[in-house]
C-alpha cells in the first residue's frame, strides 16, 4: 500500500473531509476577514471601511463592557471549577463502588445540554417560582426573596457561576482522576514510608505529578468560559442593560438582531485572536505531554 501511487490514493480518502473544512471553515474564515473590512448588512450596499469596524469596536463602550464582563466571569469561575473539581477527584479517585458511583453522578450534568441546564437553573433562581429562594427563606438565610436575574449584574453573575459549576465540575474531576491513576504507585508508597501525612502527600506528590493535567484543564476551561453564550442568553438575556452580555453574546447581537454583519465579523475576529492565543498554549502543552 506504500507504492508511489498510493500517495495520491491516500489523499483521495482525505479529500471529502478536506473539501468540507475548506468550504465550511476556511472559506468563512476568509469571508469573515473580508466582511470585517466592510460596512456590510443584508439590506444596504457593502462599503469598504478598512479598519473602521475595529476602530468602532475600540470606541464602543459595550465592546469593553462585554470583554471585561467575560474576563471577570472567566477569572471568577476558573479557580472555583479547578479547586472543586480536584477535591472531588481526590475524594473519589479510589476505585470503590461508592466513589465510582459518585464520580458517575458528578459527571452526569456534563452530558446534558447547556441550554437545558441553564433553563433548569433559570427556574431554580426565579424570584417567585424558584426553589432557591424558597429554600433560602425556609432555612432563614435570607429574609426576603432575592432578585437573581435582571437587577444586579454581580448577583446574576454569581447565580450563573453556581449553575455552570454544577454543570461542568465533573469535566475536570474525571480528567484529574485519570491523571491521579497514572501516578506510579511506588512514588507515593515511598513517601508513605517517610511518614508523610495525607495532605502532605497530596501537596508533594499528587499535585506536582498532575500539574500538567491541571494546566490543560484550566486552559480548556478558560477557553470555554471566554466563549460563554448559552448560559447568559437564557438566564440573564444580557440584562440589566447589556451588562451581562458576554463577548459571544455581543457578536450575536450585532450580527443577527441588529444585522451589522461587518461589525459582527470584526468582533468575531478579535475574539478568535484571543482564543487563538489560548489554544496555542494548550497545543504546546499537550504536545509536550506526548513526548
Amino acid at each position: 500500500m506504500h507504492s508511489k501511487t498510493s500517495r495520491y490514493v491516500g489523499l483521495l480518502y482525505v479529500l471529502p473531509a478536506l473539501a468540507f473544512v475548506l468550504t465550511f471553515t476556511v472559506y468563512p474564515l476568509g469571508q469573515m476577514v473580508w466582511m470585517s473590512l466592510h460596512n456590510w448588512s443584508l439590506i444596504a450596499a457593502k462599503k469598504y471601511v478598512g479598519a473602521g469596524n475595529f476602530i468602532k469596536a475600540w470606541n464602543d463602550p459595550q465592546f469593553w463592557i462585554s470583554l471585561e464582563f467575560t474576563l471577570k466571569y472567566t477569572i471568577l469561575i476558573t479557580p472555583v471549577l479547578m479547586v472543586l473539581g480536584y477535591l472531588i477527584a481526590l475524594l473519589t479517585a479510589e476505585n470503590r463502588p461508592l466513589r465510582q458511583i459518585t464520580r458517575s453522578i458528578v459527571f452526569v450534568p456534563v452530558v446534558i445540554g447547556l441550554g437545558a441546564s441553564s433553563l433548569l437553573w433559570y427556574w431554580l433562581f426565579s424570584y417567585d417560582f424558584g426553589l432557591v429562594n424558597r429554600a433560602l427563606l425556609d432555612l432563614g438565610v435570607i429574609a426576603k426573596p432575592v432578585v437573581w436575574f435582571g437587577a444586579d449584574a454581580d448577583v446574576a453573575l454569581w447565580a450563573v457561576i453556581v449553575s455552570i459549576v454544577w454543570k461542568v465540575v465533573g469535566f475536570g474531576t474525571i480528567l484529574f482522576v485519570a491523571a491521579i491513576h497514572a501516578i506510579p504507585g511506588e512514588i507515593g508508597e515511598a513517601a508513605m514510608v517517610d511518614g508523610a501525612g495525607y495532605w502532605q502527600r497530596v501537596r508533594r506528590i499528587t499535585l506536582p505529578l498532575t500539574a500538567k493535567t491541571i494546566l490543560l484543564v484550566t486552559l480548556v476551561s478558560v477557553i470555554g468560559s471566554l466563549l460563554a453564550f448559552d448560559q447568559f442568553y437564557i438566564m440573564t438575556a444580557g440584562q440589566p442593560r447589556n451588562l451581562t452580555a458576554t463577548s459571544v453574546f455581543l457578536i450575536y447581537l450585532n450580527s443577527f438582531p441588529y444585522l451589522k454583519l461587518g461589525y459582527g465579523a470584526a468582533l468575531s475576529l478579535i475574539l478568535a485572536g484571543i482564543i487563538l492565543v489560548c489554544t496555542c498554549l494548550q497545543m504546546l502543552l499537550s504536545r509536550r505531554s506526548h513526548a
Binding site: S104, V111, L119, H181
Partner: protein
Amino acid sequence: MSAFGDAAAADRSSTRYLARGGLVERLAHGRQKYLVAAACVAVSTVMLLPLVASVLASLKSTEEAAAVPPTYFPHSLSLDSYERLWNYQAGLPTYFSNSLGAALLTILFCLVLTIPAGYGLAKFRIPAKEALFVVLLLGLIVPYQALLTPLFFLFVQLKLHNSLVGLAIVHTAIQLPFSIYVMRNAFEAVPRELEEAAIMDGCNSFQVLLYICLPAVVPAMITVSLFAFITSWNELLAALVIMNKDSSFTLPLILAAARQQTSIGGTDWGMLQAGITISIIPCMAFYLLLQKYYMAGFLSGAVK
C-alpha cells in the same frame, strides 16, 4: 459504572499511597470511613437535586406548577405539563424530530467524512500530511462561535438556512476535529499484517477499508456518533442563528423561546421543566448505556 475503570483499573496501585493512612485506609477502620462516605453522598445529592427537582416539577399539576411560593414535592402527579408541551406552537413532535433529524444527519456527515479521512491519514503516505492534518483540525483553533456570521451569509446564498442539513453542517464542523482525531487513532491501531494478508488475496485499498479495517474500528465509530449526537442535540447558538422559522426550531431553541412567552401568559414553568426533562433523557440514556465509549473519547480527545 465500571467504565471509569478503563482508565482507573489500569493502575489500581497508584491510589494506594493516597489511601493507606489517608482517606481510604482510615476509612476502613475509623470514623473517617463515615466522613468519606458522607462526603460522597453529599456531593451526589447536590449534583442530583436540581435534576430531581426538575423532573418532579414537570409532574406537578398546572396550578401547582404556577404556585408562589413553589412546593418542593408535587401534591399530586399529573401529565398536564407534558400535554401542553406536546401542543405548544408547532408541537413537540415537530421540535423533537427537528432535533433528532439534525443529530442523525450530524452523525451521518461525521462518519462519512471521518472514516475515509482517518483511514487515509493512518494508513497512507500523503504529501504534506502534517500541514493537511493542521488544516483538518482548524476548527480547534477557530471557534465556530466566531464563524457564524460568515456561515450564516454563506447559508443564505446556498439556501441552507432554516434547513436541518445546514444546521447539521455546522454541528459537523464543530465535531470534525475531534472525530478525525479519534478515527485516525483507531485506524492506526489496526495491525498491518491483517491488511497485508488481504492485499495478497487481491483486495484493493477500498476493500481493505470495508472488510478488514471497518469492523475493527466500530468502537471508534460509536464514540464519534455518540459525541456527534450529544453536541448536535444540545447545541443552541448555531441553531439560533440558522433556524429562524418557528417550525424549524430545535428543542433547545423552542425551550429558550418558551421561557418568555407561552400560551398561559407568563412563563409556563411546568411545561418548561417537562421540556428540560425530555431533552435530557436521550443524553442521559446514551451516556449511561455507552459510558465505555464516552469515556474512551473523553479521555483521549477532550483536552487535546
